[in-house]
């Protein structure tokens, strides 16, 4: 559905504030290059290091019938993200991710903002913009996937796993 020329005013559903975080949250970050290699076999190929997020990515790609069949890790980090502050998670020269844990809800999910910043240069001028900015509540048993941003080859899929 394409609503060209219109900016939608939408309700922002504010979730419950939850409990304030007092200690850093462990965040594991995967940046994945997803491409379409036209694999004859029809089976998705995952490179090394993606075991923790493979099932989630595979399921989503299958469900949405995305034309992606090859996945390679381009960045991986494990950090302790302090509450109410942005922690940087590197991807490449073009994209950088910033996570900011905010609170914990009654189900133990970590409410956080995740921002993927894109740096580019146009007409000799460097610009930075938010390619993706989300506020989500991430459960410890299921990753948050962020994707679709263009890479030089293929698309970027980011996966965030949180734990205490």
């Amino acid at each position: 559905m394409n609503l060209a020329g219109l900016a939608l005013a939408v309700l922002v559903h504010a979730s419950a504030a939850g409990d304030a975080l007092t200690t850093p949250i462990r965040v594991e970050w995967f940046a994945v290059q997803a491409t379409n290699e036209g694999r004859d076999q029809g089976v998705m190929e995952f490179g090394d290091g993606l075991e923790a997020v493979r099932d989630a990515i595979e399921k989503f790609v299958e469900k949405k019938r995305l034309k992606l069949d090859t996945f390679a890790q381009i960045a991986h980090s494990k950090v302790r993200a302090a509450p109410n502050a942005e922690t940087e998670l590197a991807i490449n020269d073009r994209y950088t991710t910033f996570v900011k844990p905010l609170s914990r809800d009654e189900d133990g999910r970590i409410r956080m903002t995740v921002r993927i910043e894109e740096a580019s240069e146009r007409d000799g001028k460097k610009t930075v913009r938010d390619a993706l900015n989300t506020t989500s509540s991430v459960a410890s048993n299921a990753p948050l996937l962020l994707g679709g941003l263009k890479l030089e080859r293929g698309n970027l899929i980011g996966a965030i796993i949180v734990s205490d």
Binding site: D40, Q41, G42, V43, F46, A52
Partner: protein
């Protein structure tokens, strides 16, 4: 003292011979796949029945535990069913489903951080030399079996896969290339490295590979 390998009793449990013949069943498989895609589960069951031992045997070679191999094999067929729409039939169904198996085992081993799989000691996996052998030969046969399994377990996954697919499952280089998603040249290279490493390891364990048998060298 050399051990007559044909006297070594293999372990209990279901044992099947690998199908080394080139069976022309691809046309039948194509029809079954086509029907399975439309929701005909009986057709998919026929495929599972046909290839469950190929899948299970490969999984078992990696995890050396019957229950885990069982679970892995079921997951493989569940994944294959989900992916049926994308299977174009350029390779055989067998090659395709073994590729899923190899990937699944690779992920499983990494998740469990199983770099070496210890002999689990379950009755099905125990290597029990024949009662016909005298105690010393039985002990030596058991030792050889353990040495080979230990040696294979130390191989990197890619080399272990190549060795198992060739020597135990009897796949051709072309089939192996399909399962491992690499070229035939890479298959040959991995096989060669696997064999070389295994020979070295067995020799270090005191087993000489000569003639048509392996035997423990008499070091006394």
């Amino acid at each position: 003292m050399s051990v007559a390998l044909e006297s070594v009793l293999l372990y209990e449990g279901s044992v099947t011979e690998p199908d080394r013949e080139n069976r022309v069943i691809e046309a039948d498989d194509a029809e079954l796949v086509s029907r399975a895609r439309t929701g005909d589960f009986a057709a998919y069951e026929a495929l599972v029945r046909q290839y469950r031992n190929d899948v299970f045997a490969l999984a078992y070679h990696f995890v050396r535990n019957r229950e885990e191999a069982w679970d892995l094999s079921q997951e493989v067929f569940i994944k294959a069913h989900r992916a049926l729409k994308r299977f174009r039939g350029d390779a055989s169904f067998k090659t395709w489903v073994l590729r899923i198996t190899a990937n699944q085992c690779k992920d499983f081993l990494k998740k469990r951080r199983l770099k070496t799989v210890s002999f689990d000691g379950s009755p099905q996996a125990a290597n029990r030399p024949s009662a016909d052998l005298d105690p010393r030969d039985r002990a030596e046969a058991h030792e050889l079996g353990q040495a080979i399994q230990r040696a294979v377990d130390t191989l990197p996954v890619k080399h272990r896969t190549a060795f198992v697919l060739r020597e135990i499952e009897g796949l051709s280089y072309q089939e192996m290339a399909g399962v491992m998603n690499c070229s035939v040249g890479t298959v040959m290279s991995r096989l060669h490295h696997a064999r070389r490493k295994l020979r070295n390891l067995l020799e270090k364990s005191g087993f000489a590979l000569e003639g048509t048998s392996a035997s423990k060298e008499n070091t006394s």
